[in-house]
C-alpha cells in the first residue's frame, strides 16, 4: 500500500468525522436558540404588553410595542383600584430596607461565625459546626407556624424586625464561607497579626474581611436575590398592613386577587418589579454563574 492511498483513506475518515461533529454542533446550536427563545419570550411579551392597553391585549397577540406606556403607568399610580394594594415607590422602598439590612447581617455574621470556627480551638467547635450543617436543610415552611405565633406573642408581627433579625443565622452561608476559609485563609496570618499587637476583633475586621472579599461578594449577591424575591415570610409576618408597609412581591400577590383585571396595568406592574433585577443580572451574571457552579461542587 502506498503512503499516498493510506493518507487519503485516513483523510476521508477524518473529513467524515469532522463533518459529523459540525452537523451535530449546528443541530445543537438550533436547539439552544429555541431554548433561549423559550427563556426570553415571556419576558419580551411582558415588556411589550406593558406598552399596550387592556383592550389591545385582549384583542390580539403582538410582538410590536404600542403607545400606551405612560397611560398604563398613570393608571397604576393614580387609579383607586390599585391605589390600596400596589404602590411601586413604597414597594421598592420596603423591599430595599428589608433586603439590604438582611443581606448585610447575613454576610457579616456568617463571616464572623465561620472565622470563629476556623481560627479558634475550643471545646464545642466540632459540635457547633455539625449543628450548623444539620440545620442547613430545615425550611422556613416547617418553622413558620411556631415563628408566627411567637412573633404575635411578642407583638412583632406587622413590623420588619422578624424579617431582618433572623438573617444573622444563615447556616448555608456559614458553610460556604468556612469552605472558602479552609482553602484560602492561612492561620499564620492571625498569629502574625497578634505579634504585631492587633486585637482579635481588629484582626477579623482589618485582615480577615478584606481577604474574604470574593466569598463575601458572591454570598451578598445570593442573599440579596433571595431576600428581594422572598414572598413567603413577609406575606406571613405582615399579616394586616397597609400598602405603605408591603414589599414588592406582596404587591405582585395582590394583583391576582381581583376578578376584573386591567391587564395593561398588571403587565406594567410586573415589568417594573422585574426590570431592575434583570438589569442587575446582566452586569453580575458572570459572578452569579460562577457562584452557582461553586455551590454545586459539594460531593
Amino acid at each position: 500500500m502506498s503512503k499516498n492511498s493510506m493518507k487519503s483513506t485516513y483523510g476521508a475518515a477524518k473529513d467524515n468525522y469532522t463533518k459529523k461533529i459540525k452537523i451535530k454542533s449546528w443541530i445543537l446550536f438550533a436547539w439552544m436558540v429555541i431554548l433561549t427563545i423559550i427563556c426570553l419570550l415571556p419576558i419580551y411579551i411582558l415588556l411589550i404588553n406593558s406598552t399596550r392597553s387592556s383592550v389591545e391585549i385582549q384583542n390580539g397577540f403582538s410582538l410590536i410595542p404600542s403607545g400606551n406606556f405612560s397611560e398604563n403607568f398613570k393608571t397604576l399610580t393614580t387609579s383607586s383600584q390599585f391605589k390600596s394594594s400596589v404602590n411601586m415607590v413604597y414597594g421598592y422602598k420596603n423591599s430595599a430596607i428589608i433586603t439590604i439590612s438582611a443581606t448585610i447581617l447575613t454576610v457579616f455574621f456568617s463571616a464572623l461565625t465561620s472565622y470563629g470556627i476556623h481560627v479558634y480551638d475550643f471545646k464545642l467547635k466540632e459540635i457547633s459546626y455539625t449543628v450548623i450543617l444539620m440545620v442547613m436543610m430545615v425550611p422556613v415552611q416547617v418553622t413558620g407556624a411556631g415563628f408566627l405565633s411567637f412573633m404575635i406573642d411578642l407583638k412583632l408581627h406587622n413590623t420588619f424586625w422578624p424579617l431582618i433579625i433572623p438573617a444573622v443565622a444563615a447556616p448555608a452561608v456559614v458553610y460556604f464561607m468556612r469552605s472558602y476559609m479552609k482553602s484560602s485563609f492561612p492561620l499564620e496570618i492571625v498569629e502574625a497579626a497578634r505579634i504585631d499587637g492587633s486585637g482579635e476583633f481588629g484582626t477579623f475586621i482589618k485582615i480577615a474581611l478584606p481577604m474574604m472579599k470574593p466569598a463575601i461578594a458572591v454570598q451578598s449577591i445570593f442573599a440579596f436575590i433571595q431576600n428581594w424575591n422572598n414572598l413567603y415570610t413577609p406575606q406571613m409576618i405582615l399579616l394586616s398592613v397597609g400598602v405603605e408597609k408591603k414589599t414588592l412581591p406582596m404587591m405582585m400577590a395582590s394583583l391576582t386577587a381581583s376578578d376584573k383585571i386591567d391587564y395593561g396595568v398588571v403587565y406594567m406592574a410586573i415589568a417594573l418589579s422585574v426590570v431592575p433585577i434583570i438589569v442587575a443580572y446582566v452586569f453580575l451574571s458572570k459572578f452569579i454563574i460562577a457562584g452557582v457552579a461553586l455551590g454545586g461542587v459539594k460531593e
Partner: protein
C-alpha cells in the same frame, strides 16, 4: 529576642473564649428565631385551633394530644374534620405530582445541556451567552413570574390567542386540572433548569479530562462516553441534586399560591406549603393546631430526605482518617497490654 518572647507569650494565652464570642450571635439568633419556633411548632401541633365558632375545635390553650394529627391523617366523624383531612391529603398528593412533573423534564434537559456544553469535541457558538440566558429565569422574582404566567395563560391571554390562531380552541389553563398542573410544572422547570444545568456542569468539569481523552482515543463516541463515564462519576452530584430538589419541591409555594385569578386558590395545585400558609389566614382566625401538625409531618419528611444528603456530604477523607486513628490507638493499647500495661 523580643519576637520569640512575644511568640511564646502568645502561644501560652488561650484564645478559646474568642471562639465562643465570635459564634455567639449566630447561635443566639438561631435559638430564638429558628430553634424555638421549631419547638413551638411542635407545641402548637398538640394544642387546639383557637377557633370557638367551629364545632369540635378547642382553644389555643387546650392540650388536645394527637387529635390534630389524627384529623389530618385519617379525618373523623364530623364534616369539617373530614374536609380538613381531604384537603391535607390532596395537597400532599399535589405536591408529589407537581414535583415529579417538574423534576423529570428538568433533569433530562439540564443533564443533556450540561453534557453538550462540556463536550470539548463539539463546537457550539455562544456557549457563555446561552448559559447566562438559561440561568436568568431563576433570579426573577417568582411572585412576578407567577402573575406573569397567569396573565399570559388567562382566557384571552397571549397563549390562547396563539393557540386560537392555529385553530386550537381556548384551553382553560387557570382552572382545568391537567392544564393548570401542566402550566405550574412548566413554570417550575422554566425557573430551575438553568440552575440544575450549571450545578451538573461544574460536576462534569470536576471529572478528570484524561478519562474523556482516553475514551476518545479508544474510539468511544460522545454517547458512549456520556453513559459510561459521565453518568457513573456524576452520580454523587446527581443524588445531591435529586434530594435538594425534593426538599425544595416540598416547599413549593410562590407559583401555586399565586397562579389563579380572584381570591380562591386553585385546589388542583394547592401544595402542602400553601395548605399550611392558608391555616394562618383562615377566615375565622388562624388554625395553628392544624398548621403545626402539618408542619411537623413536613419536617419529618424533610428530615428523612435531608439526612440522606448529610451522609452524602460528609467529608470522606476525614472519616477515613478518624478510622485510621482509632485503629492506631487500638493497636497501641493492644501492644501496651502485651507489655503488662506499661506504655512504651
Amino acid at each position: 529576642m523580643a519576637a520569640t518572647g512575644a511568640q511564646r507569650r502568645i502561644k501560652s494565652i488561650s484564645y478559646a473564649k474568642y471562639g465562643y464570642i465570635f459564634i455567639l450571635p449566630f447561635f443566639i439568633v438561631y435559638f430564638v428565631f429558628q430553634l424555638w419556633p421549631l419547638i413551638n411548632t411542635f407545641v402548637l401541633s398538640f394544642h387546639g385551633n383557637g377557633n370557638p365558632s367551629e364545632k369540635n375545635t378547642t382553644s389555643n390553650e387546650v392540650l388536645v394530644g394527637f387529635d390534630n394529627y389524627s384529623t389530618l391523617l385519617s379525618g373523623g366523624e364530623a364534616r369539617n374534620l373530614r374536609m380538613q383531612h381531604e384537603e391535607f391529603v390532596s395537597s400532599f398528593k399535589n405536591t408529589i405530582i407537581l414535583w415529579i412533573g417538574n423534576f423529570v423534564p428538568q433533569i433530562i434537559l439540564s443533564l443533556s445541556l450540561a453534557a453538550w456544553f462540556t463536550d470539548a469535541r463539539l463546537k457550539i457558538m455562544g456557549k457563555g451567552f446561552f448559559k447566562v440566558v438559561m440561568y436568568m429565569p431563576n433570579i426573577i422574582t417568582a411572585a412576578s413570574v407567577s402573575v406573569l404566567f397567569m396573565s399570559l395563560c388567562s382566557d384571552k391571554g397571549a397563549v390562547n390567542q396563539v393557540l386560537g390562531a392555529i385553530g386550537v380552541g381556548p384551553i382553560d389553563f387557570l382552572k382545568g386540572t391537567v392544564a393548570s398542573r401542566g402550566t405550574v410544572m412548566f413554570i417550575q422547570t422554566w425557573l430551575w433548569f438553568g440552575n440544575t444545568m450549571i450545578m451538573l456542569m461544574s460536576g462534569i468539569m470536576g471529572i478528570s479530562p484524561s478519562l474523556f481523552e482516553a475514551a476518545e482515543i479508544d474510539g468511544a463516541t460522545s454517547t458512549q462516553a456520556f453513559w459510561k463515564i459521565t453518568i457513573p462519576l456524576l452520580s454523587p452530584i446527581m443524588v445531591y441534586t435529586l434530594v435538594t430538589s425534593m426538599i425544595g419541591g416540598l416547599q413549593m409555594f410562590d407559583i401555586p399560591y399565586l397562579y389563579h385569578t380572584g381570591t380562591e386558590i386553585n385546589k388542583d395545585i394547592q401544595t402542602v406549603a400553601v395548605y399550611i400558609f392558608q391555616r394562618y389566614k383562615n377566615k375565622n382566625g388562624a388554625q395553628f393546631g392544624y398548621a403545626g401538625a402539618a408542619s411537623v409531618i413536613l419536617f419529618i419528611v424533610t428530615l428523612a430526605l435531608g439526612s440522606i444528603t448529610f451522609f452524602l456530604n460528609r467529608d470522606k477523607d476525614e472519616i477515613a482518617k478518624k478510622k485510621q486513628r482509632k485503629k492506631l490507638q487500638k493497636d497501641a493499647k493492644a501492644r501496651s497490654k502485651q507489655f503488662g500495661g506499661l506504655s512504651i
